[in-house]
């Protein structure tokens, strides 16, 4: 399985690494300029360009479609370069937001009458990093290398906030390069993942360092999160794009927490620990009260613990209840298997052996539905047995959670009243 995973995942990893490389740099720039959502606006405008190409008869993902996307992105770059001069009373982000929604709506209006309509827009904005490979790498890597070189050589000019036409020209260069990168990246990885590549590694870099070290840290975090995300999506059988976004988010959370623990002063660390203890007390307290007053309702905390450690149920279930529960689990699984066996039999009969008649198929479907109802019945028994046991122990478990919360709470300790040597006791 490891070999299969490696064969499947190393090309997407290389593509993701290239994307992390260029987007981390852009991320540092957009965070410095305070235009975080310009990435989404450019992606939507590029999608609008692809939509125009589609309406003109060019196939989706064709060179013409890419060309139109780039053209629209460059026009958007001109507009965005101009918005900085308008942002006197209104923030540039607000105007970027308006550009985003208008581009999105315009795209939908345009394809409304076309065959495939919104499915086309979905395809343009929803890449799949899993299917990106060497064929995409051979053109993306050199393109991004050139753009990176251009931006690196102009970094001092770009860092300065110039006014007038020079300022506009440097802004246009930045947004034009960004537009090219976003147009290409979104087609490979989708809007959400590209946004993650853009913001999260750069944010971690800013949290820990200044100058060039931010970039290095961002790259390192991006690569580690990519490896972790790809591995997790394979091991846990999860969609790759969404898993990567969640792992990047978790990476930011961990980085922020570590920064508090490692770099904060003693006072801030104590404050952080105190806050954590208060939060945990709150969770235990609310869970305890909820368990005591609504033992039959969903109990997120207790249910999570039971999912991780099923043996916890036996703490509050009697021996008889445990037997009933286990029997219900066993029969539920058996009925599930029977339904699956019948479905496989029907599916096989479509092409192998004698075809089942309509009457046979109806009879088989009836059995499948019966097994499903029986399985649901066993699942009901599991829930009911568990709920009754919880009801019996509601006050003990609810109270226990409250007590645990109280023990964790950081009560203030009053200092003992000791008289100092200089204190004069008045008689």
């Amino acid at each position: 399985m490891t070999a299969d995973a490696f064969v499947l995942l190393w090309p997407p990893f290389l593509v993701a690494a290239v994307l992390v490389g260029i987007h981390t740099y852009f991320g540092l720039q957009v965070l410095a300029r305070n235009v975080v959502f310009v990435d989404l606006a450019l992606a939507q405008i590029a999608a609008l360009g692809a939509t125009v190409a589609f309406m003109l008869g060019h196939p989706v993902s064709s060179p013409a479609s890419y060309g139109y996307s780039l053209l629209f992105a460059l026009c958007a770059a001109m507009l965005l370069a101009t918005t900085r001069n308008w942002s006197g009373r209104i923030s540039q982000e607000a105007m970027i937001g308006v550009i985003y929604i208008v581009a999105a709506a315009a795209g939908f209006l345009m394809v409304e009458k076309a065959p495939q309509g919104t499915e086309h827009i979905k395809q343009v904005l929803t890449g799949n990093i899993l299917t990106a490979g060497i064929e995409q790498l051979v053109w993306v890597a050199p393109l991004y290398a050139v753009i990176g070189a251009v931006l690196w050589s102009a970094r001092r000019k770009l860092a300065r906030v110039e006014q007038g036409w020079r300022g506009w020209a440097w802004d246009f260069l930045f947004y034009a390069c960004f537009g090219v990168v976003v147009t290409s990246s979104v087609a490979l990885a989708g809007v959400l993942l590209v946004f993650s590549f853009l913001i999260i590694p750069a944010t971690v870099g800013i949290l820990y360092a200044d100058g060039m070290r931010r970039l290095a840290i961002g790259w390192a975090v991006g690569l580690v999160a990519t490896v972790a995300g790809l591995a997790l999506s394979y091991a846990a059988d999860l969609p790759t794009g969404s898993t990567l976004v969640c792992v990047f988010g978790a990476a930011l959370a961990v980085a922020a927490l570590l920064r508090v623990l490692l770099r904060a002063s003693a006072h801030h660390r104590r404050l952080g620990v105190r806050t954590g203890r208060i939060a945990l007390t709150g969770i235990l307290g609310v869970s305890g009260l909820w368990f005591a007053f609504a033992p039959r309702a969903d109990q997120p905390l207790i249910d999570s613990v039971e999912a991780a450690v099923p043996g916890v149920r036996e703490v509050y279930m009697s021996a008889r209840e445990t037997d009933i529960y286990r029997e219900a689990v066993h029969y539920a699984e058996r009925y599930r298997g029977e339904a699956e066996r019948l479905n496989e039999k029907e599916a096989r009969s479509r092409w192998q052996g004698d075809a089942l008649s309509d009457i046979d198929v109806r009879r088989l479907s009836s059995y499948v539905q019966s097994y499903n109802e029986m399985r649901k019945g066993e699942e009901f028994v599991q829930r009911e047995v568990r709920s009754r046991a919880r009801e019996r122990w509601r006050w003990e478990i609810g109270g226990g959670l409250l007590v645990a919360g109280a023990l964790i709470f950081p009560w203030r300790r009053r200092a003992a009243m000791k008289p100092s040597p200089n204190t004069v006791i008045q008689q």
Binding site: L8, G127, Y234, D237, A355
Partner: protein, 309 residues
């Protein structure tokens, strides 16, 4: 002279325009108005009704009917309809929000003009039956793509015919005649399609989505796996790896997808397994060649036969 010529042109033009309007009005006045949710049901209704019915399909071609967003004009169409024809099985749930808003009691659920074409169909992939990640179609009580078995046209047209005879008894004989002719022609075509696909019976292929159960059953096709096992959920890496292994082990030659389904995932699997991508139409109008219900199968059968032989 020039003035007479101009007047003649003007009269001719006005006459032509009036003739066009008169023709449209004639169709509108005499024809029984039906609204169908999909182009497939529209085609079947027209096969029975002929020129006695005027059928409009709400979902445009190549649009996923399950994610269709109704428009204001759809309300106007439903207001003036005497029959609404739906796929059912939770396939066109959006219709349930639209019909009450139209304020037309004849086409409300349970009303005389509300026809659920799934009535009487032998359903496959019954709800919750496909446990695990294989072939799940998370709908109502079965896979809703039943029109893709041409033999089911008999039951579908029976439902339409029964409603038409009840609501438009004056043309009952016409509908009966049309239906008999259509089913007679269709049964001969089914035989020819089965003969065309007989050489490739049992050959394994991969489909993008679980639309093809009924089609596979009628033409004895072996759909060995699905790229998108759960509707709307992208395939996971483990699933794709398993699918590629399966394709290599069973020497799968074709990956079937519809025009509106994402091509990247299908191309990825096809490239890794050496299969070709076959574009099939799951609905009338999905490809230009699928102009009506019969040509839908003409196209699909020809495309598959060419790819698998």
């Amino acid at each position: 002279m020039a003035l007479c010529s101009a007047v003649r042109v003007s009269v001719l033009w006005r006459t032509a325009v009036m003739a066009v309007f008169a023709a449209c009005a004639g169709v509108a006045q005499g024809a029984f108005p039906i609204v169908a949710t999909t182009a497939d049901l529209k085609s079947l209704a027209e096969s029975i009704g002929g020129d006695k019915v005027h059928v409009v399909a709400l979902v445009p071609p190549n649009t996923d009917p399950e994610e269709y967003q109704p428009k204001p004009q759809d309300l106007a169409r439903l207001k003036s309809a005497q029959m609404v024809l739906r796929v059912g099985l939770d396939f066109d749930l959006w219709l349930d929000r639209l019909v009450p808003q139209a304020g037309n009691p004849a086409i409300r659920r349970g009303g005389p003009g509300h026809v659920d074409a799934s009535f009487g169909i032998t359903l496959l992939d019954v709800r919750g039956a496909q446990v695990g990640p294989v072939g799940g179609h998370a709908h109502g009580s079965g896979n809703p793509h039943y029109w893709l078995d041409p033999a089911n046209a008999e039951m579908i047209t029976a439902s339409i015919f029964e409603a038409l005879v009840r609501l438009d008894p004056a043309n009952a004989q016409h509908y009966q005649r049309q239906r008999m002719m259509f089913l007679d022609m269709l049964s001969r075509r089914i035989e020819s399609w089965q003969r065309a696909l007989a050489p490739v019976q049992g050959r394994p292929l991969i489909a993008y989505h679980n639309n093809w159960s009924y089609f596979a059953r009628r033409f004895r096709l072996n759909i060995a796996g699905y790229i998108e096992p759960r509707p709307g959920v992208p395939p996971t890496p483990a699933h794709l790896a398993g699918l590629i292994k399966l394709a290599q082990a069973q020497q799968i030659k074709a990956v079937v997808r519809q025009p509106h389904e994402p091509q990247k995932n299908a191309e990825f699997v096809a490239a890794k397994s050496g299969a070709v991508i076959v574009l099939l139409a799951a609905s009338v109008g999905a490809v230009p060649q699928a102009r009506d219900y019969v040509s839908l199968f003409d196209y699909n059968v020809a495309a598959l036969a060419a790819a698998l032989q």
